[in-house]
């Protein structure tokens, strides 16, 4: 595994490889079933959960359908609060802005709060090219970063690793990145967490520049919100002199009170807690408290492309809770890496094609098919994203994008079937050949299909022949 999703194989190939890893399947089954049960328990505590979901969906939908106004308002309030607002069309532009700010302060390192958006734009790699080290400070992200690995879950990115693997990574890699792991490091989670605390603390205490994303951005008040558990977020948001937050334009909500449904929905859906341990909110600069230079980078990077898709735009409501991953039968067996993106699972299967467009990359085009369409993801989604409907719509888009070229075997088979089924005489003629066809298929058929499945035996007589011989069973059926 190398630290990039670029050039990942299409989903079916990547999934086959993941399915062969029984340790991974065991880890995932344990993790997803544990979080599922926790979530179900705390969701059941809320009597009006369905109305809360409706409210959550409405808050995000209203902001999205009024996005221009909300973004301009957010820029105004942020600026009035003393923050500097930047706009970035794509990843390269956003990375250049962050690097520019770090360089302006002669910083050779930054500390980072776990954030999906900075992974999406490849910020760490871009900063490394400019000679700036970006340190991940969330425990799971630290494990992924030190292991030169890729995240495999939105909420618990190192869920594919077990404690013994984590101890090995800490022992062999921590020293090169800073304070080494202690010699007597065991694989107890508390001991491993303590080693991470010591390793990261020296970085927090000396950091000049912090980098974060945001879970929500309130247009009315210019407030950014970050939810987390460990306190590494609070460290990055509070101790450095300079704070840069990269915020996708879909993170905006209109009003202060809109935070209410979101803060009730997110932790219960995500970690299965009534509330996450820490939520930080800041509205620009607070004199004498925290960073005195605050930047916000508003990022498009495909979001306006998704917004233009009338069916798919609801995916921009996503608050990255990961509930859909934990209920998905496909994710549970393949894990996150097979999706080839920082956004895995059902939401990743629709978000990646929406952000990047279909028809030009086989890996992305394979994602809308990485689903059984069972609908469990829609049921748990706190902002009611109808993922199955978007998947079906995207499958149609993928098919449309590939019209005109060499037809695929399925398309040929379907065309053939249409020809045969149109006339009953054609069908009965073909039925007589079924036995021969089966024998042929057994010998020369596609092994990708027959390798794991048995072809049934052909019947000795077709239904039509039987009907004719017995007059529909009225004559003797001897």
């Amino acid at each position: 595994m190398t630290g990039t999703f670029v050039g990942m194989p299409v989903f079916p190939e990547a999934a086959r490889e993941a399915l062969a890893d029984s340790q991974l399947r065991h880890n995932l089954a344990h993790a997803t079933s544990t979080i599922r049960a926790k979530r179900a328990k705390v969701v059941a505590e809320v009597p009006d959960w369905e109305e809360l979901r409706l409210a959550g969906a409405a808050v995000k939908e209203r902001a999205l359908l009024d996005l221009e106004t909300q973004l301009v308002r957010l820029e105004e309030t942020l600026t009035a609060n003393g923050a500097t607002v930047h706009w970035a069309r794509d990843a390269a532009e956003a990375n250049a802005i962050v690097a520019g700010i770090a360089k302006a302060h002669a910083a050779t390192e930054v500390v980072k709060v776990k954030s999906m958006v900075t992974q999406e734009i490849g910020l760490n790699e871009a900063l490394a090219e400019e000679g700036i080290a970006a340190w991940e400070t969330d425990l799971a992200e630290l494990i992924v970063q030190l292991g030169d690995d890729l995240p495999s879950h939105i909420l618990v990115p190192a869920i594919h690793r077990n404690r013994a693997e984590i101890r090995d990574i800490f022992r062999s890699k921590m020293g090169a990145a800073g304070r080494p792991a202690p010699d007597d490091l065991t694989d107890e989670p508390a001991v491993l967490a303590a080693a991470a605390r010591e390793h990261l603390r020296e970085k927090f205490l000396r950091a000049k520049v912090g980098v974060s994303g945001a879970n929500f951005a309130v247009a009315e008040t210019g407030t950014l919100v970050v939810v987390e558990s460990e306190g590494n977020g609070r460290m990055c948001l509070t101790l450095p002199d300079v704070l840069v937050s990269v915020v996708g334009i879909e993170k905006v909500v209109a009003r202060w009170e809109d935070l209410d449904p979101m803060l009730r929905l997110l932790p219960r859906s995500s970690t299965g807690e009534r509330m996450n341990p820490y939520t930080s909110m800041w509205s620009g600069i607070a004199p004498g408290d925290g960073p005195q230079e605050v930047h916000v980078v508003l990022l498009d990077n495909g979001r306006t492309r998704a917004l233009a898709d009338e069916v798919g735009r609801q995916a921009l409501r996503c608050i990255r809770c990961s509930a859909c991953l934990n209920v998905c039968p496909v994710y549970e067996r393949t894990g996150g890496h097979a999706y080839g993106s920082v956004y895995p699972g059902p939401i990743g299967a629709i978000l990646n094609p929406l952000l990047k467009g279909v028809g030009h990359d086989d890996q992305i085009d394979s994602l809308p098919y990485a689903s059984s369409l069972c609908g469990a993801c829609f049921e748990v989604c706190p902002v009611r994203i109808d993922i199955p409907s978007v998947l079906v719509d995207q499958r149609a888009q993928v098919v449309d994008a590939h019209r005109g070229g060499v037809p695929k075997p399925e398309a040929m088979a379907m065309k053939g079937a249409a020809y045969v089924l149109k006339r009953s005489r054609r069908l009965s003629a073909l039925e007589r050949l079924t036995g021969l066809g089966m024998r042929f298929a057994r010998r020369f058929g596609p092994t990708a299909w027959t390798g794991a499945r048995d072809l049934p035996d052909a019947p000795g007589e077709s239904f039509r022949d039987w009907w004719q011989r017995t007059d529909g069973g009225r004559k003797d059926d001897a």
């Binding site: 993790a31 109305e51 509070t238 939520t279 009338e310």
Partner: protein
């Protein structure tokens, strides 16, 4: 070449051409609770304890003794506007660096709001709570919540809070479940959260 701002806003406009905002507003459901309901304070105490925080209820007279008993050995820092007397505590004047704060064992603060349903303490970092760093770096946080500060649920808290102030919502001590989903207290914030629930301030005098 257009600038990024105009281009993004133009793309947004184009993407939404023909779409309208649904005027029907769905507001989040909420139950209305009477203020200063003693059951709410009980629920708050129970829910904070669920996060493996230490929770104690005490009278105004006992407060200083309880805090003294809860303090670990080592230096203590307090915000400049703390209404409780803590002997030998360093009063934060805003000049201590992060490295210096790291040598301090404990912090004592007050709070703005307690949320019963979720067991959450909200700090809005006024002088009785101090700047964000002092309640973050020391390993023990002793937080005093008044009974009349406890509200029922998140919407009640949102209605009371001033968005222009920085805020820290705390639900239990720092925690992680990143290693095989085993919950570990830590990694980075205070590993011990000690909450003292005491009668309203005006009852003290």
């Amino acid at each position: 070449m257009t600038d990024a701002r105009s281009e993004i806003l133009a793309r947004v406009r184009e993407a939404l051409a023909g779409s309208t905002v649904d005027p029907v507003e769905t507001s989040a459901p909420r139950e209305v609770h009477p203020v200063a309901n003693p059951e709410l304070v009980d629920l708050f105490a129970e829910r904070v304890a669920d996060y493996r925080a230490v929770v104690e209820r005490c009278s105004a007279e006992d407060l200083e003794d309880r805090i003294a008993a809860a303090l670990p050995t080592g230096q203590v820092i307090v915000p400049p506007g703390l209404s409780i007397r803590i002997p030998d505590a360093i009063v934060d004047d805003g000049t201590l660096t992060a490295a210096r704060l790291d040598l301090i064992a404990a912090v004592v603060t007050e709070a703005r709001v307690g949320i019963a349903e979720t067991g959450t303490i909200v700090l809005d970092h006024t002088p009785d709570q101090g700047r964000r760093a002092i309640s973050l770096v020391p390993d023990t946080h002793i937080c005093v919540v008044r009974e009349d500060q406890v509200v029922a649920d998140v919407p009640d808290a949102i209605a009371l809070l001033d968005p222009s102030r920085p805020q820290t919502w705390i639900s239990g001590p720092s925690a992680t479940s990143d290693i095989e989903l085993d919950r570990v207290e830590g990694v980075h914030g205070p590993r011990t959260l000690h909450v003292l629930i005491t009668p309203p301030r005006d009852v003290i005098s």
